[in-house]
Point group: C2
Chain length 337, copies 2
DNA sequence: TCATAATATGGGAACGCTCCCACATGAATC
DNA sequence: GATTCATGTGGGAGCGTTCCCATATTATGA
């Protein structure tokens, strides 16, 4: 294998303790010793062994990210992938390495993986099962949850204010004069979809409008294809009493629905307006670009890392739950220029 | 901290050696001892310490993935993110955990990170600088390169056959009767963009056509916005001698260009056809859906893991370079239904 | 000049595991 | 009855660090 601290010590003519001190910067070392050690390190291209370090220091400087996945997409997911990006960026600056795992329903395997590898902390993304969370909670590893929920009330949770977002879309569409609105509601077990959906409907009611039961299309999953199917499978009904707007609880569903409408020859937004939620990258790339609600994905990931770092360092972390103000992003799918 | 193998030994009334044997399954153990040990493990919720294991076995069961990034997007990148997804999926089944890092130009830091963490192997994605590759090559860590290149000829490289793909698009557009084609050429330092671009032009020439120098718009980067800018910044010129087709060396550029065309009121494909390359998820979600060349992103990631695993286990790996047959995916952006 | 502090260095234990070796038992073989 | 072999067990070294402690040297101040 590679060189060890002892090889460096031998070559520099000092003890391994001195080498250790030079490398870590802890304790006293003479300029002379420093020079010799540094030179030896350079010559041998020595890299400290992180495993051995972790062994004695009881700190791996690794954090684990577990992303729940229902089916395939994980890292490349336009929403979770962004959060992951932010995590990767932020951890780098704090000196952590990141283990990324994904988790299928009910599996404790990914958690075990992380626990055995002894990460310093864990970031759980999306709706992991309570079983998994409970399991992780059993070990004393610090962790927090991003865009998911748990009954445990002492766990940091980072979420978007989805109620507020749902209301923003409702107000926007209502102001534009839409009175008959079709809603494509994503998986209602999922906190975000549920909140977006219910707050949207409530706000419409408050404003004096109404969402008809028959205008609500539920979708058990929330992909582009689901959005596409939601409209095509209800097409007869939909086309007979064409609403003037469609709201989907995330952008993917909205984009799928929009493709159906475009294929059928509807002009957007003249014939029908479409709005989504998440402000994923692709929402602005469609034609027309999609009106949506911006969720601060990057900030979620960043804050997750910052807070986890505090948790790991045993510093006090006061707010147990963080949520971000969503922002309505008006594009041409609801309002032509 | 948590329990150790000694706690288990004490509780089960055996020696730590026996516990170790039960856990690993190596060596002889009596049914009786097994039962006692397993029970103790269960009762204490013991998890073997991966760090200590790695220390003695000299195997961490971790592999590192370094993705080159020019600017921001990394994990969420529609192309590299997919490869990462496949890596994550495949490593799980082989028992590895994955460190993910990103690398800015010229930075050796991420490599150092991985090296110090003592990963068993490395997957390098995209065009990492030769400096970084050379640096990694210095240490004896097994590694391979996905969708990138190096001068070293003993390094496994997994790539798409971009020449073939470029030719496929050329043939498709030529067959459809397009004789005046605008090409948006992504960063030419990048192997893929260069090969796609040159092979496309060559094939057009072979077929008897010609790509005019003035119809080539170079773009130093390859995002949606770059595609958008490529057309808007050349708009006067472009609109005067409108070509009948646009080919961009990746889907993002193509989608950006397509948005400009749609904004300007062009009908696609009737007025102008558009083709991209990569078959990213979003290529089929645009309207009209984008004709493109499918690159087997998932397979690239999967094969990378399989081969790296062999490398790590010191098994023989014969083909030094793998490339995949690209497949033309014809959608409505070139051929209306 | 002698205590005291600051600076500098080396030795050795410890982290939690694996694996080698020594040893003990009982069955099988000669 | 002695020798071999399969089965089972425990002790101890070692993986490459960090960190504590002991010790040595030099500087500081009465």
């Amino acid at each position: 294998m590679g060189y060890t601290i002892i090889d460096i010590a031998l070559r520099a003519g000092v003890s391994k303790s001195t080498v250790s001190r030079v490398i870590s910067g802890n304790g006293y070392t003479s300029k002379e010793a420093q020079k010799k050690v540094l030179q030896a390190i350079e010559e041998l291209q020595y890299k400290p062994n992180g495993v051995a370090r972790a062994m004695v220091s009881q700190r791996t400087n690794n954090i684990g990210v577990i992303i729940y996945r229902q089916h395939h997409p994980i890292a490349s997911h336009p929403f979770y992938g962004k959060i992951l990006d932010a995590i990767l960026l932020k951890t780098e600056s704090l000196g952590y390495s990141v283990f990324v795992t994904t988790d299928k329903e009910m599996s404790l395997k990914s958690a075990d993986f992380m626990l055995e590898k002894r990460v310093d902390g864990l970031i759980l993304i999306s709706r992991l099962s309570q079983e998994v969370i409970g399991y992780i909670d059993n070990f004393k590893v610090p962790y927090l949850i991003v865009n998911g929920t748990t009954e445990k009330d002492d766990v940091i949770q980072i979420v978007n204010n989805d109620q507020k977002g749902g209301r923003l879309v409702a107000e926007h569409l209502y102001e534009l004069g839409h009175r008959r609105i079709t809603v494509i509601a994503g998986p209602q077990e999922h906190r975000s979809h549920k909140l977006r959906f219910t707050s949207f409907c409530e706000r419409i009611n408050e404003l004096g409008g109404e969402i008809l039961k028959t205008d609500i299309y539920y979708s058990p999953t929330s992909t582009f294809d689901d959005g596409y199917k939601a409209l095509t499978s209800h097409w007869n009904q939909f086309s007979q009493q064409t609403p003037t707007a469609v709201f989907a609880t995330n952008d993917m569903l909205a984009l799928g629905a929009m493709q159906v409408l475009l294929e059928k020859g509807f002009r957007i937004p003249d014939d029908i307006a479409v709005a989504g939620f998440d402000n994923i990258d692709y929402s602005r790339m469609s034609y027309p670009p999609l009106t949506t609600v911006d969720v601060e994905k990057m900030r979620m990931g960043e804050d997750a890392v910052i807070l986890l770092d505090r948790l790991i360092k045993n510093e006090h972390v006061s707010p147990i739950s963080i949520d971000y103000e969503p922002k309505l992003v008006i594009r041409k799918s609801t309002k032509g220029s």
